[in-house]
Amino acid sequence: MAVQYRPIVPGIKRFKILVIKIVFIVLGRAFQSASQHDEEIRKEISSWRDGFTLIMKVMPDGPYMGLEKKNNMLEFKGSQLKQADFEIYFKNVESAFMIMTPQMGSHQAFAERRMSIKGDLGIATVFTRVLVIVMSVLYPEFIVKRLVKRVPPLTLKRAGLRVWLYTLGILLGK
């Protein structure tokens, strides 16, 4: 009897996708909240035009999250944006999981091409600096140290922002 060759549909990585989706929400809200309180972040994004949109996306068909600059803050748009002015890609689910959990920093992820961008290269340098600040507020120093080239100083204000993010900031996005 002749062997039958059928197309194969691979499964879905449910657990990792779920974790990435949760981190996207936490990170998105942290961006929104921190961009209202942190002077450095406000200064960094001041060069972006109003209405500027950005998405982070897992390739080729994974979850994504969007941010929009409005009134000099970054508004979390969840999965409302399908396209944006500037896009950050994770090459696959495994890479996104590694970066989101966070076992790998963005510089290393760029170096290993697990993370890549589409759009204005100048935006990329600003975005990585903003990301570093958000990370340094979200995570304790012993974790951040492994992720970034230089740990930004945890000022009194940022320590306060960390408490705010953990209590209400992420919940409310304010």
Partner: protein
């Protein structure tokens, strides 16, 4: 040490050597091209290189679709549009860039417009925006420095909007890099030195930054060895075809290295100084290279130290204790700059290059927003940048 993961990509066919140019018609035929359009500049034409180029097509049965020889020193979108319309009018099917960095970038820009059938370059600016395989592109460098013949990038300025548009895409990689010693014989000493130091900084920066990998390292150290052996000869005895060909090879190898592992603060500062004070790129590289290395020393002492073997040779390397190798590498580069300065007057500080002190903070600000800093080992902030600029002043 092997990185936990890396990627390396170089599909460009390298054709190097005596009368390499005469292979061009058959190479174009392999690529399926019949009517190439040539992009070049007045300097190249004036040096008689276009004539050699046309001669190499003799008895090939191939028609050169058009020759545009008026690319300005800074590639601009207006010129790209002009060449694009000639390309269409003359029904060309491929591109040959005969020139230095500006000519090569211009040809890449034309290739974007003719491939995408568009007249607006800005739409395709940025990283990974392009999605189509392009027309055949052959690059014949007439300087030995930019490495553009093997890189994924192009920079074209939009004069009307007063912006520099960067393009980065694997589709921008040329099909062939053709290195013929005749094409660089007429390069004047100072330009030879400046472009050589550009190639040198490509190799050095690619070897020390975060994206380095065993493949890019191999190209980088090979390039450094060839440059150190030949650069002074190329500047003082420009007619030596052997030396010229060596420099062309080194430049292409350095290009392959940095196209795969990126550059760092030296280039970030150089792009900024070039944008604000119009210092030629190679001159800026020569000025910033030792200071950039010194700045990165705390983060990558071992890698800078290893470069000593390739810069100074095995005897010096063996003689130098491990703890002093990184400093020695920097010393050797400083010495090389001094020698070049004496030979042809290549500036070794910003003042000599015509920069005024009041511009430094503006340059520092631009440098930290330059994409080149992302893969640099040390995170450079605006104060760091200013400190380096003051040292280099």
């Amino acid at each position: 040490m092997l990185p936990s993961y890396y990627e390396f990509h170089n599909p460009v066919k390298i054709i190097s050597g005596n009368k390499a140019l005469d292979n061009l018609p058959s190479e174009l035929e392999i690529l399926g091209a019949k009517r190439p359009m040539v992009v070049t500049d007045k300097g190249v034409a004036g040096a008689g290189l276009v004539k050699i180029f046309i001669d190499s097509f003799g008895s090939s049965g191939m028609t050169i679709g058009a020759i545009f020889d008026d690319v300005p020193p800074d590639s601009s979108s207006e010129v790209v549009e002009k060449i694009t319309s000639i390309f269409r009018q003359n029904q060309c099917d491929s591109l040959v860039a005969l020139g230095g960095g500006s000519v090569i970038d211009t040809a890449k820009g034309v290739n974007i417009l003719v491939t995408e059938n568009s007249d607006d370059l800005l739409k395709f600016s940025g990283a990974e925006v392009l999605r189509k395989k392009m027309k055949p592109l052959v690059v014949i460098p007439t300087t030995s420095g930019t490495g553009s013949e093997v890189t994924v990038v192009a920079v074209i300025s939009d004069v009307k909007r007063n912006i520099k548009m960067p393009f980065a895409s694997t589709y921008l990689l040329p099909d062939i890099a053709l290195l013929d010693p005749r094409m660089t014989l007429t390069l004047p000493p100072k330009m030879t030195a400046a472009t050589a130091m550009d190639a040198m900084s490509h190799a050095v920066e690619s070897y020390i930054n975060l994206q380095k990998n065993p493949m890019s390292d191999a190209y980088a150290v090979a390039a450094i060895e060839i440059i150190c052996e030949n650069v002074l000869k190329a500047v003082s005895d420009g007619n030596n075809a052997q030396v010229r060909l060596a420099m062309a090879n080194a430049s292409t190898m350095a290009g392959i290295a940095f196209s795969n592992s990126m550059v760092g603060v030296v280039h970030a500062l150089g792009h900024a100084a070039g944008g604000i004070c119009h210092i030629p790129h190679g001159v800026a590289m020569n000025i910033f290279l030792p200071f950039g290395l010194e700045y990165n020393l705390p983060k990558c002492r071992e890698n800078i130290g290893k470069l000593l073997l390739h810069i100074a040779g095995d005897e010096v390397y063996a003689r130098t204790p491990e703890s002093r190798r990184a400093e020695q590498t920097i010393n050797y580069i400083v010495e090389l700059r001094k020698a070049l300065n004496e030979l042809c007057g290549l500036p070794i500080n910003l003042k000599q290059a015509g920069v005024t002190e009041d511009k430094l903070s503006e340059i520092a600000q631009a440098a930290i927003n330059d994409p080149s800093i992302v893969m640099n080992p040390r995170e450079m902030d605006v104060n760091d940048a200013l400190a380096i600029l003051k040292k280099a002043f």
